[in-house]
Symmetry: C2
Subunit: 214 residues, 2 copies
Amino acid sequence: MAATGGEKPKRDTYRHGDLRNALLEAALELARQGGPEAVVLRAATRQAGVVPNAAYRHFADRDALLHAVSQAAMARVARTMEAEQAAVPPAEDPAAAARARFRAVGTGYLRFAQEEPGLFRTAFHVPGDMTHAAAGTAAGATGKTPFELLGEALDGLVDAGLLAEDRRPGAEFLAWSAVHGLAVLLIDGPLRGLHPTQTHDAGQHVIDMIERGI
Amino acid sequence: MAATGGEKPKRDTYRHGDLRNALLEAALELARQGGPEAVVLRAATRQAGVVPNAAYRHFADRDALLHAVSQAAMARVARTMEAEQAAVPPAEDPAAAARARFRAVGTGYLRFAQEEPGLFRTAFHVPGDMTHAAAGTAAGATGKTPFELLGEALDGLVDAGLLAEDRRPGAEFLAWSAVHGLAVLLIDGPLRGLHPTQTHDAGQHVIDMIERGI
DNA sequence: CGCCCTTGTGTACGATGTCCACATTCAGAG
DNA sequence: CTCTGAATGTGGACATCGTACACAAGGGCG
């Protein structure tokens, strides 16, 4: 019994009915624990209770599957950021509110990176092209991608008078660089295995730097 | 003739003489063009004109080989940073000199990322552990690792009175985060394919942000 | 000169991505 | 309601990879 992995779904109908989705789900789970390189086509089909080749009816090749997983992971990043923003206490001062919303973007991003390192790495794994980070499939509940969320938060800073207009252009790349870099450091860099509280502090420090230096 | 790849070295001696090095060299080239996933053990042995298993006399497994390549790549990062520092014109004002040396660290780092994306990605590819970035094998000509070079540059800023002492602790992680994040953006993020001059500007902007926000 | 440890060889196995031909089924045209 | 074609799964096969095990070659030290 130990020989047969842990896949359950014994189909009785010839058709699966929802293979594409099942494969995506299985692949997402693989990515969750093991990152992009753990997304192996045959494993996904196994989990879905189907023969390896069946996958080719729904994905051109392994890369296409991985790409779909990447998009899904990116969408989760967006959702985590949205959740973080939603959690910020209702603001009195509009400037304080704009600032809180901006910080929530970075905090959410970093939180996701720590909580789901496998998915995080998969989201940003794109050999050759990552422009798709702005694609529709990468959007969260509000229909916005992580980049769009960041952009809006920055606009909010400008509106609130916290960021000079002439500093606005290109600011997303400054902010994104810093936060993403820290995320990498935390996930598999020298800052790995930091205590959660220290991790949070590190994140706040980086965001402080961004606010000062942007 | 087209069937046999492009490997030349027809050995006549049974012993290779310098296999470990040959493998490392071949693997480095593979990484240079194709990143970490392109480092395939069999390809390296093929290039070295030796049977696949021979590699196991010098590396425990593919991961060990990849690790060695990663270290070598990291050393090149260090050398590029050193070169960038060496190129800064002799300073009059000590403060300006410290500042220039600091900026050179970031600029060199970014330059390497653009010029050798494959090696750059390989240098920072470490599934599980990246603490080795501070290991001796990762050092450049002066025997210092990228992290150490950054640390020294920051110390220089403090000595020159450009950075408050109480801001010094942990500053390397702020700076590293920002620069590394930008490097990733430039290599396979939305900033990929930017014009070299724009690329340089982006780098300077990020370093500006660091100086202001650190 | 002879022994043995190091280094390279041969053969083999399991896993993976992918191709091609075939089987099964669903859905719509008549 | 039946027939038929387009979707969807299946089976079998192949090249490539990492790696294990047993064997061969040969260099260095007694």
